[in-house]
């Protein structure tokens, strides 16, 4: 059981949890993740470690309420406990030797991209951060990102920052003559795919963070497998970071859609069942 110390809404449907997890906090590194199961009947879901504080024994995760398990997680509040949290899992990001880096975050991906930008900044790298959101209300971590990088915000609808995609901003910078040794892209697979296609054109090394379906997170099920450079890799142990120029994104997107209709069904059931619970308890 891991206790929730702090719960904070970052944007509509996006929440930050600070957990009391001293053992995990002791070992956590940027780029790693935990697998958690909020309640007995919930799924095991991977969440990237968004921050940690070793002395205080705190671990931060950020999630978006998208399916039944995140909805269940969302019913827990400060002082409540999450049934199971295992980690830190996966390999830590290798950030050594980078000097001029573009860190690109898409939506919730910013929660994962931000600690990398912060770690790079602390190591003395010059960091440009490009953060993309659908619109103004969905923006998260703006102040935090601005504190460690030159920040460009892109919105699909132009309601904040510049209107356009993250790839537009990246291309503009490259064309202006900014010379990056590395690009780190974290967000929806489709975004990572297009960033990787662009950087390939310019021969810039690109690291992406993969988010496939997972169960155990220890290499036992193979559910998280993806194709990298023609070879099968397990994202939970071989990753989650991979060379963006070698990942088969189309396969990843197909595999991630495996349970989409199931997931909608489960959400419906979850809401109905919570509704009934509410009625029974006379809360509605």
């Amino acid at each position: 059981m891991i206790k929730i110390i702090k719960k904070e809404k970052l944007a509509e449907g996006v929440t930050r949890l600070v957990l009391n997890a001293p053992l995990i906090a002791q070992k956590a590194m940027a780029g790693q993740f935990v697998i958690l199961r909020p309640t007995e009947k919930g799924e095991r879901i991977p969440l990237t470690i968004a921050d940690y504080h070793r002395e205080r024994g705190e671990l931060t995760v950020i999630y978006q309420t998208v399916g039944r398990t995140t909805a269940e997680l969302d019913t827990l509040g400060e002082g409540d406990s999450i049934l199971n949290v295992a980690g830190p899992l996966g390999k830590a990001s290798e950030l050594e030797g980078m000097k001029k880096v573009a860190v690109i975050g898409g939506g919730l991906g910013c929660a994962i991209a931000y600690p990398q930008a912060k770690a790079l900044h602390e190591k003395g790298a010059d960091v440009d951060m490009i953060a993309g959101f659908r619109s103004r209300e969905l923006i998260i971590l703006e102040d935090e990102m601005r504190a460690c990088a030159k920040l460009t915000i892109m919105t699909d609808d132009g309601s904040y920052g510049q209107k356009g995609l993250v790839t537009d901003a990246l291309k503009e910078k490259i064309l202006r003559g900014v010379s990056y040794d590395t690009v780190i892209a974290i967000g929806p697979p489709i975004m990572m795919k297009y960033v990787s296609l662009l950087t390939k054109e310019y021969g810039i090394r690109t690291i992406v963070s993969m988010n496939p379906i997972m169960i155990d997170g220890t290499g036992m099920c193979g559910g998280c497998r993806l194709t990298v450079d023609g070879k099968t890799k397990f994202a939970c142990v071989d990753g989650p970071d991979f060379d963006g120029h070698l990942v088969d994104f189309d396969e990843l997107m197909r595999r991630n859609a495996t349970y989409r209709s199931d997931e909608q069904e489960q959400m419906k059931r979850f809401h109905e069942c919570n509704l009934f619970k509410g009625i029974r308890q006379g809360e509605v």
Binding site: R37, E43, E72, V85, G223
Partner: protein, 472 residues
């Protein structure tokens, strides 16, 4: 005078067409009368071969004679003195190649149903509340009271190897902590073997009695990540037993293997057994295929096939490249699978998985095989029959081609050697290349059996005890 009835006393089972739609246990167990009748078939051989066939040397004729007399609790104690998980091994051991394979009654008729009787005694003791993990065979037992001056030993992994080692060490007076990566203890017993073959409350009871005995189990602890083996020593553990199993699934490397609807048996079975995907009240999704191909011929393949049937598949095929005789699965599982309507495509090998335009499995291309000369393992090796490919329409494929040990611990423990299959190298079956580190079960042998893993756990407890005493 022994009961000379030729065949085993039948055990009641759920009817195939009923049970292939539910998850309850297939075999219902013996009544006391049936058990006494069956046990009386034992001839009480002077030099019992059955016992030699048992990896943990259960004193079989002795317990059978007690069952004949209706002294079930005493019979249980005899079994329990060398076998720490009898309710489990009675259900899942390959008796036909072990004890029952050696039984002289098998020469003319069927051997004595030793496995069923072992199960009977264990279930009886559990029901009567007499089950205990204290084997009574140890001499140094300090009782089960926790005391701070006990010597600490760490066990990594909570499958049968880890559990039996933990139980034996606790009985020898050590303070044992078991570290398990998953959220539930039991290893393959909880995530792999389905409910209808091994009810999970039986596993839970065995684990609870270990905890009552003072064994501490910490779940969600992935050793190699949250703590390394070296850090366990820093934390004061005097020895470490690694029983991390062989959980890494092998794939075939054929085209289409990453298509939607292709599972490793581990993933499919974990979703069902550990994550209860078959229950509406659990959130775990699973594909409920209409036509399912399971590739492989072992227990894992049978379990996956029979689970797919229970999820509602109309057709479930077992695709196996050799013949039925060569199948490594327990005979009873093959028999049960057939009864439940699983279709066997023997001497058949998949060459390609085909998909529709959305990336979902649409069919599997197979090639027919013929048996050639016996290979190193003594099994006749299959050879592809040229030009015999055909497509089988399926929407789900489950790969049950075996597993290898997980490399996590090897990669994070300097000086701990493994062979080229990834199995820990030991000098005597349990002592590894690192001082104070012992290993056993599937992590040493590669995927094997519950009883061998349990036996390895017992051996390790003995070795660890000797090692710690030698250092004092």
């Amino acid at each position: 005078m022994a009961n000379m009835q030729k065949n085993k006393t039948p055990m009641r089972e759920q009817l195939p067409e009923v049970r292939n739609k539910n998850w309850e246990e297939v075999a219902c167990g013996y009544t006391p009368e049936e058990a006494m009748n069956e046990a009386a078939r034992c001839l009480g051989c002077k030099d019992p071969l059955c016992r030699k066939g048992c990896p943990v040397s259960v004193r079989i004729p002795e317990f059978l004679s007690l069952v004949t007399k209706g002294e079930f609790a005493e019979a249980y104690r005899v079994i329990r003195s060398t076998n720490s998980l009898p309710a489990i091994s009675g259900r899942v051991c390959p008796q036909e190649t072990q004890c029952e394979g050696k039984c002289v009654r098998g020469l003319k008729g069927e051997p004595v149903a030793i496995g069923r009787l072992e199960r009977f005694c264990a279930d009886y003791a559990m029901a009567e509340g007499e089950a205990s993990t204290c084997s009574g065979s140890c001499t140094s037992c300090t009782g089960c009271t926790a005391s701070s001056d006990k010597i600490k030993v760490a066990v990594v992994g909570s499958g049968p190897a880890g559990l039996s080692c933990a139980g034996d060490l606790a009985a020898r007076g050590y303070a044992v902590t078991v570290f398990e990566a998953l959220h539930k203890a039991g290893g393959v017993l909880v995530y792999g073997i389905p409910e209808f073959r091994l009810p999970k409350d039986i596993v839970a009871k065995e684990i609870r009695s270990l905890e009552d005995q003072g064994v501490e189990i910490q779940t969600d602890m992935v050793i190699g990540k949250i703590l390394s083996v070296d850090e366990l020593f820093t934390l004061g553990y005097q020895a470490v037993f690694i029983a991390s199993g062989a959980g890494l699934p092998k794939f075939m490397g054929i085209e289409g293997e990453n298509a939607n609807g292709v599972y490793s048996a581990n993933e499919f079975l974990t979703r069902i057994n550990l994550m209860k995907a078959y229950r509406e009240d659990y959130g775990t999704p699973i594909r409920k295929g209409k036509a399912v191909a399971v590739v492989g011929g072992g227990n894992v393949a049978m379990d996956a096939a029979r689970s797919a049937k229970r999820l509602g598949a109309e057709h479930v095929y077992i695709i196996y490249r050799r013949g039925e005789k060569e199948m490594p699965a327990r005979r009873e599982e093959i028999h049960h699978a057939k009864e439940e309507g699983i279709e066997f495509l023997l001497l058949t090998n998949p060459t390609k998985i085909n998909t529709d335009e959305t990336g979902n499995v649409s069919s599997i291309t197979c090639i027919r095989m013929a048996l050639g000369e016996p290979d190193a393992s003594g099994r006749r090796s299959p050879i592809a029959v040229e030009g015999s490919e055909y497509d089988l329409t399926v929407d789900t494929v489950i790969i049950a081609m075996g597993t290898a040990p997980n490399p996590l611990i090897r990669m994070t423990t300097p000086g701990l050697e493994t062979d080229k299959r990834g199995c820990f190298v030991t000098s005597d079956g349990t002592t590894t290349t690192r001082e104070g580190v012992f290993a056993g079960g599937d992590a040493v042998t590669g995927a094997a059996t519950v009883i061998l893993a349990m036996g390895a756990g017992r051996d390790a407890a003995e070795k660890i005890d000797q090692y710690i005493k030698s250092k004092q």
